[in-house]
């Protein structure tokens, strides 16, 4: 009791906007990222809803084709580079990695602040294309050549924004790797680390080793646009397929930058709400590394129809199928964790279960695309759009929301209305599946992606999908509204371990944590991080 009075928590310690935007406290930086990410997410989601509105009926409804092209590009750029790549590592990684390791900050606190500033500069650059220049890019987020070097829209600025954002991603990854190596609390070894830390570790290596390749590739697009030298333009000797290779050498591993941290979140949610140890700790930990490793060698599966030798295609296809193995290992272990657990269905767990269901649809539809014969039919159809939204939004997005609900009481020392949170989850879940499942059907029927119009026979799935987008939007607003309303519920005193069954170190400190994270030495469970048989007793 006295300790709460004497140790001001990190939210109260300093006041004023500058104490936030120039803070080197990892917790504040995590929240800076959170607020900026949610803002951009809402912009991206609005663009998505607008696209669905255009596609409600065949023919031109709201926009010209050109406007539609710019909207889906902007939607992609915002959602990929500004939301989902930083998402879980930058927010929850920053906030909880040091606490879970039992330390008070990341290894390079100032670099951490710099990464947020770089992120904001990149975001301003990306959004500036809306106002300045010849309009936002209309190339799709992939910036495929030769169109991206020929279009009159402001591709240069969008590409430079992605380049700058890459630096932010690299710095975060670098910081986490060093932090994990150097700052684990005494007694914590690699194999006693929480699985979220393992997931971040694997992710950080991908961020570090893949991002520079996209950086230089994007610079080459700028060079091509400025000098017109034929780096990628086939009319003057360039090779556009080379661009696709370089692009996907980064952008496929980037898929795992988006997915692996989500796996980490699920591995934290399940033990807490099953009140038992995780099943297959090592299998889950090492499968993250396996996914990160194999994920480097599968980029060619984005290019099965671009022109590649038959042998190369077969190799890429086999490698793609190999990724399914460590991924399935995780899913089986998660389900096994629930088995005979004492399951407490709280809002975060609902998101976790939603993740498993939707991610499985996303993952398995990925195998359909990874198989050569089916990919020829499905390439560039709405099946692909449905597939990656199931993985990215149904998977990572839901894990992000789950993490938000899970750590909400720890971050702000408040609690949201759980009933409303549950209702919001079910609206989101129904809306999500209504929105994206019909896309897969439309894709199987042959509807190509990235057009503002379609043939009348695709009307039904598109109509359902647009209705779904409205349900999803309502669910999102309800969920966020409920979380924001929770800030005002000041009367409740949040315990250190509000779920009662949290076992990782963040549940041993105050809610919200003090500036130095811990008010007393954290105690590790005896046999590994999820040893529920020797769970340290947590006194208030």
């Amino acid at each position: 009791m006295t300790s709460t009075a004497l140790n001001l928590n990190y939210l109260q310690a300093k006041k004023g906007i500058f104490s936030w935007i120039f803070s080197v406290d990892h917790k504040r930086i995590g929240l800076l990222y959170l607020y900026s990410l949610i803002t951009f997410f809402l912009v991206g989601a609005t663009l998505g809803v607008l696209m669905r509105l255009e596609l409600l009926n065949p023919g031109k409804d709201l926009f010209e084709a050109q406007t539609y092209n710019q909207i889906f590009t902007m939607h992609g750029v915002i959602m990929i580079f500004l939301f989902i790549i930083p998402s879980i590592p930058a927010v929850f990684g920053n906030f909880f990695l040091p606490i879970m390791l039992g330390t008070d900050d990341v290894s390079f606190p100032r670099l951490n602040l710099l990464s947020w500033w770089i992120y904001i500069i990149g975001a301003i650059m990306a959004l500036s294309t809306l106002l300045f220049g010849d309009g936002p890019a209309d190339t799709g987020w992939t910036f495929y050549v030769p169109y991206s070097v020929k279009t009159g829209t402001n591709v240069t600025m969008s590409v430079l924004a992605a380049f700058v954002l890459g630096f932010s991603s690299i710095l975060t990854g670098l910081n986490f790797i060093v932090t994990i190596h150097r700052l684990k609390t005494p007694g914590m070894t690699f194999l006693k680390m929480p699985l979220f830390a393992w997931a971040l570790y694997a992710t950080s290596w991908i961020q570090l080793l893949a991002t520079p390749v996209i950086g230089i590739t994007l610079l080459m697009i700028v060079a091509e646009r400025v000098f017109g030298v034929g780096l990628f333009d086939p009319s003057i000797g360039g090779d556009p397929i080379l661009y696709q290779h370089l692009f996907w050498i980064y952008s496929h591993p980037a898929v795992y930058i988006m997915a692996l941290p989500a796996f980490g979140i699920i591995s934290e949610l399940l033990p807490t709400f099953s009140n038992r140890t995780i099943f297959g700790y090592k299998a889950i930990a090492f499968s993250s590394l396996a996914i990160a490793f194999v994920g480097y060698f599968v980029w060619g599966h984005h290019m099965f129809t671009s022109g590649m030798s038959g042998l190369a295609r077969i190799i890429y296809s086999i490698m793609t199928f190999l990724v399914a193995i460590p991924t399935a290992i995780k899913v089986f272990n998660w389900v096994a964790t629930l088995y005979k657990g004492s399951i407490d269905v709280q809002p975060p767990l609902l998101y976790g279960l939603g993740f498993i269901f939707q991610f499985m649809i996303g993952g398995l539809s990925g195998l359909v695309l990874g198989a050569l014969a089916t990919d020829i039919h499905l390439h560039d159809t709405y099946f692909v759009v449905g597939h990656f939204h199931y993985v990215m939004f149904g998977g990572t997005g839901f894990a992000f929301f789950g993490a938000l609900h899970y750590w909400y009481p720890k971050i702000w020392g408040r609690m949201y209305n759980k009933l409303v949170a549950n209702i919001a989850f079910f609206i989101l879940f129904i809306g999500f599946n209504l929105l994206y499942f019909p896309m897969m059907i439309a894709g199987l029927m042959g509807m190509p992606r990235r057009y503002y119009d379609y043939l009348p026979e695709f009307h039904l799935p598109n109509m359902i999908s647009t209705y779904g987008s409205w349900v999803l939007a309502i669910g999102l607003l309800l969920m966020l509204g409920n979380l924001i309303a929770g800030f005002r519920r000041k009367h409740e005193k949040i315990a250190r371990n509000p779920w009662g069954t949290g076992i990782t170190l963040e549940w041993q400190t105050l809610s919200p944590p003090p500036v130095a994270n811990f008010d007393r030495m954290p105690v590790l469970p005896k046999d590994g991080p999820y040893d529920y048989d020797h769970k340290p007793e947590i006194k208030e």
Binding site: G102, T103, F108, R182, L231, G237
Partner: protein, 209 residues
């Protein structure tokens, strides 16, 4: 009353940790290698597509100047390594002198580069000039990659020079000492990388025949 002294963790992120700084620098160097790696791939692909034009174009480069610059960079790598040894033994004066030498060599490198580039541009071998635009695609690509890759490398030399200047300043201030010389070490690591990349650029553009 036992709560009055705030608890502090033994392993703080705000502790000075030379190992962590060096590890961070190594990780950063990996990203640099991959940055250039993308360009090396592009070079490799286009060289294999246009072997004759690349060969023809490479005769335009001045091997003597390239060799001279290679020697300059190798010597500068040695002087910065010596400056680290000097600060380890506590000889700050010698360390500063050797850092100045390194900085001087970096400037020599850039001056030679300037003359090389301006000679090429003078001959119209830069995008936008008539001579360049009249070249067959393979040769123009060679020159463009030459400017792009050596330009990016020169940018790294400039950044390296700035870092070395910071080290000199901090050593003079007494902030880099016998006990605390990670900054010099990290500057050295970075400088060796810049050197190493040149070791690959030099044969790729000047020597392969």
């Amino acid at each position: 009353m036992e709560h009055t002294s705030a608890f502090s963790l033994p392993n703080s992120g705000h502790n000075r940790d030379a190992e962590a700084s060096k590890m961070g620098m190594w990780l950063f160097l990996f990203t640099e290698l991959l940055l250039f790696g993308g360009l090396f791939i592009v070079y490799m692909v286009y060289r294999s597509l246009n072997p004759e034009s690349f060969l023809l174009a490479s005769f335009e480069l001045d091997v003597a100047m390239g060799t001279f610059n290679t020697i300059v960079l190798l010597v500068s790598s040695m002087t910065i390594a010596m400056s680290i040894t000097a600060i380890q033994t506590g000889d700050a004066k010698k360390s500063i002198f050797l850092l100045y030498t390194t900085l001087g060599l970096a400037i020599v490198f850039l001056i030679v580069k300037y003359f090389e580039w301006s000679a090429k541009i003078h001959h119209g071998l830069f995008p936008g000039f008539e001579v360049y635009d009249g070249l067959p695609p393979g040769e123009s690509l060679f020159f463009f990659l030459y400017f792009f890759m050596t330009g990016l490398h020169a940018l790294h030399i400039i950044i390296g020079g700035i870092i070395i200047s910071v080290v000199i300043y901090r050593t003079k201030k007494g902030l880099v000492t016998k006990e605390k010389y990670t900054l010099t070490e990290n500057a050295g690591l970075y400088w060796h990388l810049v050197d190493l990349i040149w070791i690959y650029l030099f044969p790729l553009f000047y020597l392969i025949h």
